[in-house]
Amino acid sequence: MELSSVAIEGVGLCGDSTRVGDRAFRSLVQLTLDILLKKKSDDCLANDEDIISVDNASLKQGYAGLVSLILEAVKMDSDLSTISSMLEDCKWATDRIEYFFKCFQDCKPEMEALLSRFDLFAVLLLKLTPEIRCLDSLPLRDYRKRSCGKLSYLFCIYIYIRTGSSFPHIVDVDWRLDYYIKNNQMEKVNKPMYLITLKTEESGKPQGKDVQFSCSMEQLQDLVGKLKDACKSIERAAVN
């Protein structure tokens, strides 16, 4: 885990007991975590009685350093040893390290959930574009894999760049079974027909578009069979 030098300076400021006293330190850590989890807004940083003792410019740099540290630690899923070695390099006292780590661990699942909502996949794709060239190094018998891999890869990138969002996700399904009795040309048809509505969600939009279609029983069986195959392959991957 590496931080920029300005952030490291800020973190060092937080650990410096001449600039940030003990009580100010504790409330600073708590408030930072609360602000990042959107429980409070950062006006309370200016209004909190313990933090008033810290001078404004150092507070802003220290706060920025702390925010960078927390977000990088969540991104890299760092454990106690990495974080404490980095904080020791910034000359933090052991009790401050322990206090910080305890508060951090308590909030870690929520912070991870928060970070997960970003379409980091798109960022990764764009950053890994030079790695498309590594597909050329695959041996010749993977030629088909190579070309298919490249094509689907490029296609995904295209979609991301154009629309800024991924494909819609299916979250729910409604079904209706109709019985097709007759029509104007046939006196007796007597076929069951399924009307399926797939409810979807898309990123950024409050209401997703529904996908509606009708199908016969055989087609529905086909679809369910394919879904079951997909489930089985996931279960097989889960077992290995």
């Binding site: 060092g12 959107k38 802003k60 740099q61 991104k75 699942p109 909502r117 970003f118 990123s203 889960a238």
Partner: protein, 522 residues
Amino acid sequence: MEEVDNIIIHTFKQIGCDIPEEVSSLKEFTTALIVSATSKCLRMIKEDLQIPSVLPASMSSRFRLGTTLATACREVGYRGEIGYQTFLYSNEAEIRKLFMFLVENLPKESSESASEPLGSSVMLNRRISSELSKRLSRPWTPSFLKKNNIGWTGGRPQTWHREGARSVRRFCTCTLRIPEGLGDLTRKIPKDVKAYYNNSMPFITSQPHCYQDIAPSVLEENSEYLAQKRERLEKKIKQHLQSELQRTNVNAAKNIDLSDVVSSLSDSFSQGAAPSKGSRFTRTEQLQFAQTTEQISSQKSKNAEQEEIYKVKKRSVDLLPDAQNNISKLQSVVDSSAQRLVILAQQWESHRVPLIDQYRELKQLNANRVVVEYETMRKDVNRSAYTSRILEIVGNIEKQREEIKKILIDTKAVQKEINQLSGKLDRTFSVTDELIFRDARKDESCRKAYKYLASLHQNCKDLISSVEETGLILREIRDLEDQIEMESQKNTATNLERITADYKQIKDENNALTKKLKAATK
């Protein structure tokens, strides 16, 4: 049964129980052997069970050991009846069942992961599969029950998972401004900048347009800074390497030690080269340095040769003035060295012979060992023989089943015939009975005939009933014989004797202990 015993004994020998060579069937297993084999098997099945494998001398501890073994077997899953008596007063059939169960439950060789490569890709795959299995086991909840598409499960600490895409946001960043230089007290920050930092500059979390962009902006800022740092480092390394190469090319003749050059490089860059691009640089520098090292080493070897030649020539030139003396001296030296060579050769001969004998012996031993291993290997190959025998037995059983079916059909047919005949008999008898009785009232001979008929009927009935009884008794005899055989296998008499002896022993031990206790409390 012998094959089963052989397999069991072979497996025990493989897991390490020392079974004496004469024991070839389960009948010959002593109590001590049974106990040690069972405890070894249990230890292999479940690692944490601590059961002593040696039969203790005193009766009460033997009893305790028996009960612990029995409870352990039951824990591992043995379904049959088991108790201390199975181990201390054993009988062959029960022991065979128990050993078969234990041998089946021994951990298989293939599933023992001796040394799995714990590479990072393997760890990643394992994490992926565990996460997938966790998500598969979760029940489905509708999407409106998940705030921001996150579902939470479990107690403290809770785990989360994401479903649906409504709250997924684009990774939007914006530039952030942070105060700099406040940690360094020696640096002078201009007054107006300081005023800006103190009064107007917003907090880092208020700078992005919306709250959701804070995390992306901070992460992007960090990674940008790191990417710039890396580029600067690579440029520096490149420049330094180029300058060093110039210097070493000039100084090749002076035999500069290349390790010094490399260490000077590493000293000046204590932070270490950037990982990915650095590898390319190390490769180029290795190539360059390799060429110069080759040149240097060839030079060195040439130098050494020249030195040798020079030394020899110098010595001979020195010896030249006092030529005659020196020649005789040299001659004597040559003679003495030739003699020494001869003596050494003799000594070597005397050493060589015993060594060669030793070598031949070891070769023999090795050959024997290989033969023994081959024989033990042959036993494993016996599996095909076992499987063919099993298939034979299965075929035999099929044939027997067919025969049993046929016999059943025959029996049914015979029963039907019996029923038909007895029915016919009854009907015929009733008809004749009536007929003769009607005439019997008038005629004397008819009355006699009637009496004869009645007695005939009675006697035949008796005959039939006695035949049936004989059949019944024969069947009972067969059942009783089977029961006798089973009971005799249980060795009840010998076990009873042993139990009474042990009971007496326990009683004596108890008495001794109570006496000791009384003596101690007095």
